[in-house]
């Protein structure tokens, strides 16, 4: 199919982009790797495309004095895959990026688009939640930030205001001791995952977080397992069994949509992820 007719604008400033995006029928275009296929199927029929490609300021990665890493919304998956900065955090981001779809998608798709599109199967959501990352949104009244898990309200649902845009992902300071692993179950390479998980452990900053997302789970942190990781550390991660994780999942909130099959698969996946976390440490 071909897209329905639409207008196209390419604003040069963020404020102009916010104003245009707020108009009825408008849709913001970043890398277009979700929006454009939906338009081609006429499942999305925006009357106006607001192309964010002119907002060069959103195409930067910076580290603030606080140690926070700020990844501009228009940074592509490929840019993160190719990001050569030293240390465990860039290495983890490279690893996550490399597993997203195919390189042709990664060349265009952006981290901001991934957040704003809020597909619960998207790789960045789980990974960023494990890192306790936040989303920066900018609107006419300036910027506000929300934890990624609070920003994502459901499949395709976010806390983004109609006249605002996602402008960055903010990752709090991590140390050189950060260990971070992600894992996903996907039926074939390049396909969307059914289930994704990530685990991050950084004794220097007190970070210990396990996340889960997928077709039937709005990406979220898993407090009970995160707490167990914080208390038991990597020794616990190395030794934890699927059965224990499966039992722990029963006590986690927000997993009601997981049926018995996906609960089992999620437990097996988290077990794999935590064991890798332990192995990574041993290595």
């Amino acid at each position: 199919m071909k897209p329905a007719p639409f207008d196209y604008v390419r604003p040069a400033s963020l404020s102009e982009a916010c104003r245009l995006r707020a108009e009825p029928g408008a849709a913001a275009l970043a890398g277009g790797q979700s929006l454009v296929p939906l338009m081609a199927l006429r499942k999305a029929q925006p009357s106006r495309i607001v192309d964010l490609g002119g907002l060069g300021a959103l195409r930067q990665i910076e580290t603030a004095a606080s140690g926070e890493t700020r990844i501009g919304a228009l940074i592509t998956h490929a840019a993160l895959e190719d990001w050569e900065a030293p240390g465990p955090l860039p290495a983890f981001l490279r690893e996550v990026a490399r597993g997203i779809a195919f390189r042709s998608v990664r060349n265009l798709g952006t981290i901001g688009g991934s957040l704003a599109h809020a597909d619960p199967r998207a790789d960045w959501l789980c990974a960023l939640i494990a890192l306790s990352a936040r989303v920066e949104m900018t609107g006419p009244d300036g910027a506000r930030v929300l934890a990624v898990e609070d920003f994502i309200e459901g499949p395709g649902q976010t806390a983004l205001d109609a006249d605002a845009l996602v402008t960055a992902a903010l990752i709090p300071e991590t140390s050189q001791a950060l260990i971070c692993v992600h894992a996903k179950l996907r039926p074939k390479v390049g396909a969307f995952a059914d289930l994704l998980t990530a685990a991050a452990f950084d004794p220097a900053t007190g970070l210990a977080r396990v996340s889960l997302g997928g077709a039937a789970v709005t990406p979220r942190a898993l407090p009970a397992l995160s707490e167990a990781l914080l208390r038991g550390g990597l020794a616990w991660a190395s030794a934890v069994t699927r059965a224990k994780i499966e039992a722990a999942l029963a006590s986690e909130a927000g997993l009601d949509a997981l049926d018995a099959v996906d609960r089992r698969r999620a437990a097996a996946l988290i077990e794999r992820c935590l064991h890798r976390l332990g192995e990574r440490h041993a290595a």
């Binding site: 329905a4 006429r42 039926p187 074939k188 099959v261 089992r264 698969r265 097996a268």
Partner: protein, 781 residues
């Protein structure tokens, strides 16, 4: 001989243009004044159409069935007892019977504009309950797809051996049921048609992406009420078909009508969404099988009830009976089965009409039978391959007439089985299994054995009584004034490499270089009538016709050569593209020069047919060649996540004499990957309303390069006694084995867990559901 004839791995002539992006497909063609077509398709699986309202001012750009009263509905008949035929209108009439059925045809200067117009057409539907599930469709209270029938059973085939007598005394009885999902062929190029009315010649010229240009020509002419000399079908490059392009498409008839009606060229190119939704027309079986055996593992009898979901309509020309007929006829497989009872039902539903798909019915029956064989092995505490050895038809019995009257031509089935067992190193796998970690992924090995009837002809198809029965295959050969050979065939190479392999056969016969042979196909105006390319028939049939024609021309040229060499015909031999007598020789191009340009040098008795002939060929008997193969899969299957990795895949195959080993290897690689798709990934599911689950390749998953395992191929060569050179058709077979081999491998891996899978695709969620069911002592749904 130049070493490029039969048996040589020469590079494919067609690859150059494809690798350079210079192939020309229907979608590459544009004609002046051409309009683009978009079909408005029904979002509902089953509904009555109360009214269709064309947008104001666009009445001349939207066409419905009411605008084309002269177009006949397609009626794919089969002259089998009790067969119920249905009319398939090229655009929906008073009802739609599957989601995706074309309701109106809209035109525009571009496809996008045609789609904009289609979006403005209003259709008033009265929704009807949909027939979605193959089993529920047979219930007395099911909605009915074709009301006038009063049933959803289009055909019930049967065979009634005295299985009760076997059941009464058989020491072992195993009963299981199996389900195979509906899938699509998903060729790289979807369907496409570009039609124009040539006023000068008063002829419809239809470019189409088809496997069967001549049958399509007949079909378009018949359904438009035109004499066949007013229709020409051109199939340019065709990017795969796998059977899905082995039927006359409603869109081909509609667009041909449109071009004649408008007196301007019209084109429709199927997009991937249409291809997935309307092309979900393959497999979908439900089998209930009981196997009786003795304690040595010898089969005593088979009892099966097989139901096939054939979708809403009967396709033209092969009808809706093909799949069930093949299932009933091929379930006993390569084994000696002394007693067989079956019911094979063709069920209609509110889904796209079932089309032939690579290895018609056989991937499904092989899945059921081979999983039964492994179940028998488990029951008897034997290795699965040993059970097969006890039942495979041995070489001493060839040719062998099976219980369903299939005449196996040749081969050593047990030797083939043994080679596969040795290739995977079964003892090493058993040792590794014994020492593996019980917690994670587990190792399993599975085997499948099949034989594949191919290139079956008149004697087989006449029994079906469809609108078309294939007969002699013809090829037209012409040696040009410069000596270069042209071969014209009505077969349609759409990835098989026939431009190369048919040239190799000419090279074999005439000693010329295949590079100097032009194989011309894809145009009904320039080629002899042919049933086309399907049923793994082309190399046997076309190869035989080319060989026969080459010999006719060689005999004619020998007369001329003997005269020019001033010797007797008996003294003349043809080799390396030249006629030799003693030390003297005359190349073919000299004969061509004399015939065309210097006929004054011809002998008085030169054959008046000259250097051009149309030769006909049919094997005798034409009941088919039987390629056979053993497949072995080694997998790692994780019961926690449902992930299955194919670690090793072995194919030991015997397809008789091989024309080009690289081409055959390519068929094996591609077929196995397609079979892995059936086994693990491919499924078009439907909700209760009959809405399909997959509109893009994000939802409908096909294997990619990463999912293709490293395969190891081994070959045996037992020439067919009935075909030219001993060739056997083999294009479909490689897709038969993988679901069975992989299913058996998973059952082997998870034997300790009490899991026995019985469905395709073996998707991760289904597999984990089976594990949970086994843990809970419940059967998996």
């Amino acid at each position: 001989m130049n070493g490029k004839g039969v048996g040589a791995s020469v590079l494919r002539k067609e690859d150059r243009r494809h690798l350079h992006g210079e192939g020309r497909f229907t979608a590459d063609l544009r004609l002046p004044r051409m309009v683009e077509v978009a079909f408005l398709r029904s979002p509902h699986a089953h509904a009555r159409i109360r009214a269709i309202r064309k947008p104001d001012g666009a009445e001349g750009r939207v066409f419905t069935l009411a605008d084309m009263p002269e177009v006949k509905p397609m009626r794919g008949i089969a002259k089998l007892d009790g067969f119920r035929a249905s009319d398939w209108p090229v655009l929906a009439g008073d009802k739609v019977r599957y989601a995706g059925e074309a309701v109106a045809m809209c035109i525009g200067a571009s496809r996008a504009e045609a789609e904009d117009l289609a979006a403005r057409v209003e259709v008033d539907y009265e929704l009807l309950p949909a027939v979605v599930d193959l089993i529920a469709a047979q219930a007395p209270d099911s909605p009915i797809v074709h009301e006038e029938w009063g049933t959803n059973v289009a055909l019930a085939l049967k065979r009634d051996d005295d299985i009760e007598a076997v059941a009464a005394s058989a020491p072992v009885r195993i009963s299981k049921s199996f389900r195979m999902a509906r899938q699509g062929a998903v060729p790289m190029e979807g369907k496409a048609v570009l039609a124009e009315w040539d006023a000068r010649r008063e002829q419809l010229v239809v470019h189409a992406s088809t496997q069967i240009p001549h049958i399509t020509r007949t079909g378009i002419a018949v359904h438009l009420g035109l004499p066949q000399n007013k229709v020409r079908v051109i199939a340019p490059d065709v990017g795969g078909g796998f059977g899905a392009k082995c039927m006359v498409q409603p869109e081909e008839i509609s667009v041909a009508w449109l071009a004649r009606h408008l007196r301007r060229p019209a084109r429709w190119v199927e997009d991937r969404r249409e291809n997935l939704i309307c092309g979900a027309n393959a497999r979908e079986h439900h089998h209930e099988v009981t196997l009786y055996a003795d304690r040595e593992g010898r089969i005593l009898g088979l009892d099966a009830r097989m139901a096939i979901d054939a979708g809403a309509y009967s396709i033209w020309p092969f009808s809706s009976s093909l799949e069930a007929g093949m299932a009933g006829g091929t379930l006993p497989g390569p084994y000696h089965v002394p007693c067989y009872r079956h019911r094979s039902l063709t069920i209609v539903s509110n889904k796209p009409p079932l089309a032939p798909y690579r290895s018609v019915a056989r991937a499904s029956v092989c899945f059921s039978l081979e999983l039964m064989m492994d179940a028998l092995a488990r029951e008897l505490g034997r290795e699965p391959w040993e059970i097969r050895m006890a039942n495979l038809v041995g070489p001493e019995r060839m040719p062998y007439r099976s219980i369903t009257n299939k005449l196996f031509d040749s081969g050593d089935y047990p030797a083939c089985m043994k080679r596969a067992v040795e290739a995977v190193n079964l003892p090493a796998i058993r040792a590794a299994q014994a020492s593996q970690d019980r917690d994670g992924a587990r190792l399993g090995v599975g085997f499948a054995f099949y034989s594949e009837q191919a290139a079956h002809g008149t004697s087989v198809f006449a029994g079906w009584g469809g609108p078309m029965v294939p007969g002699f295959e013809q090829a037209t050969l012409k040696i040009n004034p410069d000596g270069a050979l042209e071969i014209r065939t009505g077969l349609q190479s759409h990835g098989q490499g026939m431009e190369t392999t048919l040239a190799q056969i000419a090279a074999q016969e005439l000693g010329i270089d295949p590079d100097e042979v032009a194989v011309l196909h894809g145009d009904t105006e320039t080629s002899p009538y042919s049933a086309g390319t399907y049923a793994s028939r082309s190399i046997v049939m076309g190869g035989g016709a080319v060989a026969t024609g080459c010999r006719t021309l060689a005999a004619r040229m020998t007369i001329i050569a003997a005269h020019l060499l001033q010797t007797s015909r008996e003294q003349v031999t043809l080799r390396d593209g030249a006629f030799h007598a003693g030390l003297r020789s005359l190349p073919i191009r000299e004969i061509a020069r004399v015939w065309y340009l210097n006929p004054e040098e011809l002998p008085e008795d030169a054959d008046r047919g000259g250097l051009e002939c149309t030769a006909a060929y049919r094997p005798d008997p034409d009941t088919g060649t039987f390629t056979y193969a053993a497949h072995a899969a080694v997998v790692s299957a994780d019961p926690g996540t449902g992930e299955v990795k194919v670690l090793d895949y072995v194919v030991v195959e015997d397809c008789g004499t091989v024309v080009n080993p690289m081409v055959v290897d390519g068929q094996v690689y591609g077929g196995v990957v397609q079979g892995i798709g059936t086994a693990l990934l491919e499924e078009m599911a439907y909700d209760a309303s009959g809405a399909p689950s997959g509109e893009t390749l994000l939802e409908y998953l096909i294997p990619g390069a990463v999912e293709a395992p490293a395969m190891r191929l081994d070959r045996m060569v037992t020439p067919s006694p009935w075909s030219e050179y001993g060739l056997k058709g083999m294009g479909e077979g490689p897709a038969i084995g993988p679901p069975a081999a992989i299913g058996n491998a998973i059952n082997d891996a998870w034997r300790d867990l009490g899991v026995e899978v019985d469905y395709t695709p073996l998707s991760p969620r289904r597999l984990v559901a089976s594990v949970l069911a086994a843990e809970g002592g419940r059967p998996a749904s």
